[in-house]
């Protein structure tokens, strides 16, 4: 088994992302076309029907299968794969695309992550009542289960979570395609209506519509598309037990993140993530999820998040800027699109194209999704050429 079998085999040569938001006037197909055609243009692809060999697409709200994407883009006569893995869907679609290239099966592959939750007529996730066990099945309720235990052990509290929300709202104001472009204060976050203790409204990601796309190719072919292509260093998706029934769970971390981090660092050759990684997009479905991820990804020691939040370590000008485009919190969270949107942001950061939110001289960028109860974690690491 070669842990570094993926490293530098695959390049990202084009990215695209539609405006995330309550896109009342756009269908899923409309957003897919926006994102994919931006990625085509970014890669210099003029004839996708000829130049794209395969498509990997991901969505959790769509029930139309891969056809929704291939029909929108009129990409027929080639393999189109639909991936679904909760909130890790985007990273998983990206990973599967990379594997197909590394295997030598395809040269150039399109990845599209998308979701259109705002056609359901409800704010927030659907309430699932088709069972009696494990109710309420609300994501806020699931992800809040680490709060009482973590707060009790490490002395953190709602104020620390609020600082993460304030940071991500600020970063969101700097990203042209983000949904929320409004600064908030600590007091705004603390005084907002409660969703699931300790999460108030501003501790929760903004559920939106959206689509994001990336063009991947063999790294030896990448120069044909653009000079400043970005190389894939590692990509993993790991399954974990349902934390609610996992007998050994201490509710101080989400296990799959730790497992996925160990694996992806070996793939990418990372030994000191806090120092080696320059920018990271973390899965801030809730503020606490971002806090736990600082630690579970090995950026800092378990329990040290509170002091690092106070020191601003993860702010735009900090040691390791996190969620530079506002994250799920402010950029928006169309479930299947999110992992690919993170790739989009990291590519822009590595290419020095991130505008007002640019992290100087970034060499390595990490993106992280966590999905399910949570029961899955996906991580991708990109590096400058």
């Amino acid at each position: 088994m070669k842990k570094d079998a993926l490293r530098d085999k695959v390049a990202v040569v084009g990215v695209g992302c539609c405006r995330f938001g309550e896109n009342w006037g756009q269908s899923a197909a409309d957003m897919i076309v926006d994102a994919a055609y931006e990625a085509y243009a970014d890669a210099g692809i003029e004839s996708p029907q000829r130049q794209v060999d395969a498509v990997f697409t991901g969505s959790i709200y769509s029930n139309k299968g891969p056809h929704e994407c291939s029909d929108a883009l009129k990409l027929f006569g080639k393999p189109v794969t639909m991936v679904s893995n909760y909130c890790a869907t985007g990273t998983d679609a990206f990973r599967c695309a990379a594997l197909s290239i590394a295997a030598g099966l395809h040269d150039t592959v399109l990845v599209v992550g998308y979701d259109k939750p705002k056609d359901r007529g409800v704010a927030g996730p659907s309430v699932m009542m088709d069972r009696v066990r494990d109710l309420p099945q609300t994501p806020a309720g699931w992800f809040a289960l680490c709060a009482s235990t973590y707060f009790e052990k490490f002395g953190a509290g709602r104020e620390d979570l609020a600082k993460i929300a304030v940071k991500n709202h600020h970063n969101g104001t700097l990203a042209p395609n983000s949904f929320l472009k409004r600064e908030i204060s600590i007091a705004d976050a603390l005084n907002a209506r409660m969703i699931s203790w300790p999460f108030g409204l501003y501790d929760c990601a903004a559920q939106t519509d959206g689509a994001a796309a990336a063009i991947l190719t063999r790294s030896d072919l990448a120069p044909q598309f653009r000079d400043d292509f970005v190389l894939l260093k590692g990509a993993v998706v790991i399954a974990g037990p349902n934390p609610q029934k996992d007998p050994g769970n201490d509710f101080l971390s989400w296990k799959p993140t730790g497992w996925a981090a160990k694996e992806v660092y070996e793939q990418a050759g990372i030994s000191d993530p806090m120092r080696q990684i320059d920018v990271a997009q973390l899965h801030d479905c809730f503020t606490l999820t971002e806090l736990l991820s600082y630690e579970d990804l090995g950026f800092i020691e378990k329990g040290a998040a509170k002091e690092h939040i106070a020191a601003g370590s993860f702010e735009l000008k900090g040691d390791l800027p996190v969620n530079t485009d506002g994250g799920l919190k402010a950029f928006g969270h169309p479930t299947g699109a999110t992992g690919v949107r993170m790739i989009y942001e990291n590519v822009l950061q590595l290419q020095g194209r991130a505008g007002a939110r640019q992290v100087p001289a970034a060499e390595f960028a990490l993106s992280h999704n966590i999905g399910g109860h949570p029961t899955a974690c996906g991580i991708a690491i990109l590096g400058r050429r």
């Binding site: 309430v127 069972r131 066990r133 806020a140 289960l145 235990t149 699931s196 203790w197 996992d246």
Partner: protein, 500 residues
């Protein structure tokens, strides 16, 4: 063969609504109130709670029957008793029976159980009576009713109270009724109900019992004559086993399940019962509990009975029913039960608006029946875990896990498990949250992960306030209705602070 009561238990919902608030006024703390089954409770959940309380310390395998009485069965076609038997994890060949249609149903079920044990066709039968009737909002019936359940374990050995006799009669009268498909109970004019129904019905039933008991000693009581009892003037009744209220000594407890204070007083007067012999009918605290009312009063009497005392129980409904019990020496030895007193001490004042939402008296935005709801096949496959609340124990590594699954979570052994009931175990709260997003009549929903001897279960928490939540909190388990999506009650278990 001597038959009687081996154990008993009760359940009264915690929520209490002030009668003043139901009458349109403001709630006064300390004023008269009634018990209200909350949005996650119904006659079945209350029956499971009362049954569990009754069976505490008894082997559930020893039960040959479960007879269940109610006028508010959740289904018109589909048995409540079979559901309750599954939730209580009774034997598969337990004889289940639903009794319904009359306020006398609780007494009828008890008599049937006593007869079955006396006949030798069953050794032990659990009798549960439970009711949560609805009076129309603002009506006198709404203020009169109270929700609750009583459970009595009937057997021929180790009885705490032995049956001395029972009597019942049937009568045709339209005084209190509820038609098919109707939610609210109706009553004819109050004075008619009182004068021709309840009070004379109770008196006639008691008189019939006394006649049966006295017959052995040559007593002669004329049927159809209330007067002979009311004055207590007939000396021939003096030997009716010591159950004649008019001849009452300090050792007779008279429990009259008359539906309201006025008919209770009138029935007591007709029987010549001394005030100090009467078992408190709990008006203004619990309320008229319908088919469960007489069994609840019997439980209440048993809770405070000393060996050698006698209990006369009488109830009304399409006729009447009376029973006489004598308390045995074992009554003093039975481990304390969660009965009527235990539950009346544990109350929570509920405001009127929340009561209306909890009892679905408001018009909802969407009908619950609009969705097909819980899949019947999923329910069928998962009934051991969802209804029986059974975990599995891995034979290879000993780990307990929930729900049952094919591969062991700890040692990965395949298909090597045995089911274990966890509904009567004590759990420990690992972590928790308060969910304000989940739709319920009373947000937030407290929910946590509970460790039950190593098995982890994500479940809702009840009977506690936010400040009670802490890791390590001991919890026990309560069968509840999770929702009514699909127009059916969908049941599962919730956790509550143990021993509380």
């Amino acid at each position: 063969m001597a038959v009687g009561i081996v154990s008993y238990g009760a359940y009264v919902p915690r929520a209490r609504v002030g009668l003043a608030a139901l009458a349109g006024g403001a709630r006064r703390e300390g004023g008269p109130e009634r018990a209200v089954a909350w949005h996650d409770e119904d006659c079945v959940t209350m029956a499971v709670a009362a049954g569990g309380n009754c069976l505490r310390g008894f082997d559930r395998e020893s039960l040959d029957g479960l007879f269940f009485a109610s006028t508010t069965h959740p289904y018109q076609e589909k048995q409540s008793a079979a559901l309750i038997a599954a939730a209580l994890d009774l034997r598969r060949d337990v004889r289940t029976l639903d009794v319904s249609g009359t306020l006398r149903a609780g007494c009828d079920a008890l008599r049937a159980a006593l007869d079955a044990v006396a006949a030798g066709t069953a050794r032990r039968v659990l009798v549960v009576a439970s009711d949560c009737r609805l009076g129309a909002p603002g009506s006198a019936l709404e203020r009169n009713f109270g929700d609750g359940a009583a459970a009595l374990l009937v057997g021929g050995e180790n009885t705490v109270a032995e049956l001395r006799g029972h009597y019942a009669f049937a009568d045709e009268i339209v005084n209190v009724w509820r038609g098919g498909g109707e939610r609210f109970v109706h009553a004819w004019e109050e004075r008619f109900v009182l004068q021709e129904g309840t009070a004379p019905g109770i008196a006639e039933a008691v008189r019939g019992l006394l006649q049966k008991l006295g017959a052995g000693q040559g007593a002669q009581v004329r049927a159809g004559s209330a007067q002979g009892v009311a004055g207590g003037a007939d000396p021939a009744q003096g030997d009716a086993g010591g159950f004649d209220p008019a001849q009452s000594d300090a050792a007779l407890r008279v429990a009259l399940a008359a539906p309201d204070a006025r008919s209770h007083a009138q029935a007591a007067r007709k029987l010549g019962a001394a005030a100090e012999s009467l078992v408190d009918p709990l008006f203004g605290r619990l309320g008229n509990a319908g088919a469960a009312f007489a069994p609840l009063l019997l439980v209440s009497a048993l809770e405070r009975a000393a060996p050698g005392e006698r209990i006369l129980l009488a109830g009304y409904g399409d006729g009447g029913c009376a029973m006489g019990f004598e308390v045995t020496e074992l009554a003093a030895k039975l481990e304390a039960r969660r009965g009527v007193d235990w539950h009346l001490e544990r109350r929570r004042a509920a405001d009127y608006q929340r009561y209306r939402r909890a009892r679905e008296l408001e018009i909802p935005e969407y009908e619950a029946g609009a969705s097909p709801g819980l899949s019947a096949t999923v329910h069928f496959r998962e009934r051991d875990s969802d209804i029986g609340f059974k975990a599995q124990k891995c034979r290879a590594c000993g780990a307990l896990q929930f729900p049952p699954q094919r591969v062991c979570e700890s040692c990965f052994a395949k298909d090597d498990f045995e089911l274990r009931r966890i509904s009567d175990r004590t759990g420990r709260l690992v972590t928790w949250t308060l969910d304000y997003f989940y739709p319920t009549p009373e947000p937030p929903t407290a929910v946590g992960v509970v460790d039950i001897e190593g098995a982890r279960v994500h479940m809702q928490l009840v009977n506690l306030a936010a400040e009670d939540l802490r890791s390590g909190l001991p919890l026990d388990f309560h069968f509840r209705c999770m929702h009514r999506v699909g127009g059916r009650p969908n049941y599962y278990w919730k956790a509550a602070p143990a021993g509380e």
